[in-house]
Subunit: 137 residues, 2 copies
Amino acid sequence: MKLVDNITGVEVLAGDECIALLATEEVGRLAVSVSGHPHVVPVNYVMDGDAVVFRSGDGTKFSAAGTVVAFEVDRFDRGTRSGWSVVVQGRAEEVTAADQPELVERVSSLPLSPWASFDKPHLLRIRPTHISGRRVG
Amino acid sequence: MKLVDNITGVEVLAGDECIALLATEEVGRLAVSVSGHPHVVPVNYVMDGDAVVFRSGDGTKFSAAGTVVAFEVDRFDRGTRSGWSVVVQGRAEEVTAADQPELVERVSSLPLSPWASFDKPHLLRIRPTHISGRRVG
């Protein structure tokens, strides 16, 4: 069954389809508040069940730890003007070996290798409180 | 000359290169604050000089009018694990025919056609106060 937003006419994706689509990509965009203003940065991520996991240095991404963030993944085809997007909202938490050794071990085994190779000592995880997805075209 | 961030080792793009790259794409991601929390949505856009222009209905995107937003565009190649991203920060303003007839006329002639075809009566413009870009791989 195809769900359609009755205001926009755009197809709305079910939660399980959103999670499945998130697992097909490896770069998303993390939106955080910095000094009260929104900021957005691309991140390499991997899924751990329905949670988004990424590594961070000490900069913008790490400032998200302990705050509510939004995370967007999409795939669009300019030729056919079609595609999908999924947005996850939730609190970003730092995952440490001291607090959650089993989680660190599991996450460390996931295929997460940042493209930018500078040191990223922090492991962050977004546990979704809201997931939405849309498909156009 | 190639500029490199001395903390991360990532290549930093000059402002004119960022503007040139923005002009090569047509979908970006708009980060806004909604009830104090960051939210991010994909948008079809076009460049008007160094300003980002997009259409909006009455939803999340339009809530950005009059506020400081961040706007991200990227292109990544998973095969080579390389790509670039550009982030624009600035105030989003609604552009109306009453206030800025010449601007509306000029912007209306730009190749801006939203992929999702529902009614989007508002025209918004982000005038950058800060532009940054990175290249990896």
